[in-house]
């Protein structure tokens, strides 16, 4: 059993066995993370570049930790301190980096399709750490791992994704991954933040938070991207919170055991109340822990495909 592709660009087109393999491998790495010396020599001699054209705390630290736990050599790149400021093109940046003998590239960019573009420029294995509004596959994998650890199996589970679906790469990857694994998905949010013809993806769509709370076992609450707020897609932050904000009161009214996930960073008091984020409903910190294991699994599984051997 192995992954079909040398790269991880998204979860669209990744089949059930492959996702299960990544999640199972991640479970093995969880054991390593709990050891007194949480490090294995598996990627010794491999070099990974973390190419972040967009700000990130969690994802970048998580990838970097995963690389170090596997003993890979890591190089970090961020636009603010690089020649991108001097006007170097993406293609030149990546080709120069590759000339320094790189095995894998972890990339985040504000434009969708950049990871795919990079696969055409270089031989290294490319891992998408978020591209525009397209996909963020490792986030969806860690969400699924967190749910699977609670529920045992994803088949038949009801997962609602709440918030700004249209602009969310986390939603994009989660929809593909969850449907592939046999879960049922509901998208919940205001009409202005819902993609057109969302039903065609094979999901339920609702514009009332109550529907999601009545139906779902798991609620993946997306961050309201405050930087997009000026577009006027909803009147005010306060109104959004009144309609779609998760509060303890609402969760208790639901009279069901709902588990809350959030990809971070949280806007406390907007999509999620502070006391919900810190309550027993929330598995947000489990997600962060599982994220390192999932990224180790992806790095491990993609590191075997040496193009020289093909």
């Amino acid at each position: 059993m192995a992954l079909q592709s040398r790269h991880l660009l998204g979860l669209e087109g990744v089949n059930r066995e492959e996702i299960a393999l990544i999640l199972d491998t991640a479970e093995s790495f969880m054991e390593i993370l709990q050891r007194p010396i949480p490090k294995v020599p598996t990627l010794r001699g491999k070099t990974v570049v973390n190419l972040f054209f967009e700000n990130s705390t969690r994802t970048r630290i998580s990838f970097e930790l995963a690389e170090k736990r596997l003993t890979a050599d890591t190089v970090n790149f961020s636009t603010s301190t690089s020649s991108v400021k001097k006007g170097e093109t993406l293609k030149d940046t990546i080709r120069n980096i590759e000339a320094m003998n790189i095995d894998m590239v972890v990339v985040r960019h504000s434009a969708a399709g950049v990871p795919l573009f990079l696969t055409r420029c270089v031989d290294a294995a490319i891992i998408n750490a978020g591209d525009g509004m397209h996909e963020h596959p490792t986030q969806a994998l860690l969400d699924m791992m967190t749910i699977r650890r609670k529920a045992g199996d994803l088949q038949g589970l009801k997962v609602a994704i709440v918030g700004d679906i249209a602009h969310s790469r986390v939603a994009g990857s989660n929809i593909h991954g969850l449907l592939t694994m046999g879960a049922e998905v509901m998208l919940c949010g205001p009409k202005t933040l819902m993609p057109m013809h969302a039903e065609r993806l094979g999901v339920r769509v609702s514009h009332r938070l109550e529907d999601a709370l009545e139906w779902a076992d798991y609620l993946n609450v997306l961050r309201i991207q405050l930087e997009r707020q000026h577009k006027g897609l909803f009147p005010t932050i306060r109104e959004y919170h009144r309609e779609f904000g998760i509060t303890l009161e609402r969760l208790e009214q639901a009279k069901r055991d709902v588990v809350i996930l959030h990809p971070g960073p949280i806007n406390r008091g907007v999509e999620l109340d502070s006391d919900v984020a810190d309550s027993d409903f929330s598995v947000i910190l489990d997600q962060v822990t599982n994220g390192v294991a999932v990224r180790m699994a992806v790095l491990y599984l993609l590191s075997g495909s040496d193009p020289a051997l093909e």
């Binding site: 490090k39 294995v40 598996t42 001699g45 491990y300 093909e310």
Partner: protein
Amino acid sequence: MVQKIKAKIVDAEGVERTIVRLAHEVIERNRGAKEIVVIGLRTRGVTIGRRLVEKIKAIENFDVPFGVLDVTLYRDDFRRRLKQPVIQISDIPFAIDEKHVILVDDVLYTGRTMRAALDALMDLGRPASVQVAVFVDRGHREMPIRADYVGKNIPTSVGEEIQVRLKQVDQEDCVLLVESPEEVE
């Protein structure tokens, strides 16, 4: 894939007697079973390790802690493979510090798996000693490693393979000498 069986070297009674003898040797060398822990290497070493622990319990009436180790991540051939092998969970639910660790595997051959296992153990703690118990030692070592407890010494050629079959997984207890798959046309 049908492999040609050249000989049955040990039968069911032989397997049982050998495990009993290994248990006695382990107890003798460590003056009892109080300070030892047994760790089986995936996958066949786990079955043999479990049986060894049962025998030690029957003799000493003491439950020796038992763990499972997967050494895939420590192997030295991963960079030469096209696809990564599937890794499984290591499960060692006790501290190995200051314990005498008995590492159990079915066959000792090049010594590379044991080398990987030693590295993995060092990441888990600082044992008082590490002792190696194998069911079959077939020679052809490529690393400076030797076994402390050997079930059977079976000299082989490189074109042959040893299969340790156990009733828990193969429905029978025996040791077979077979031809390597590459040799069979």
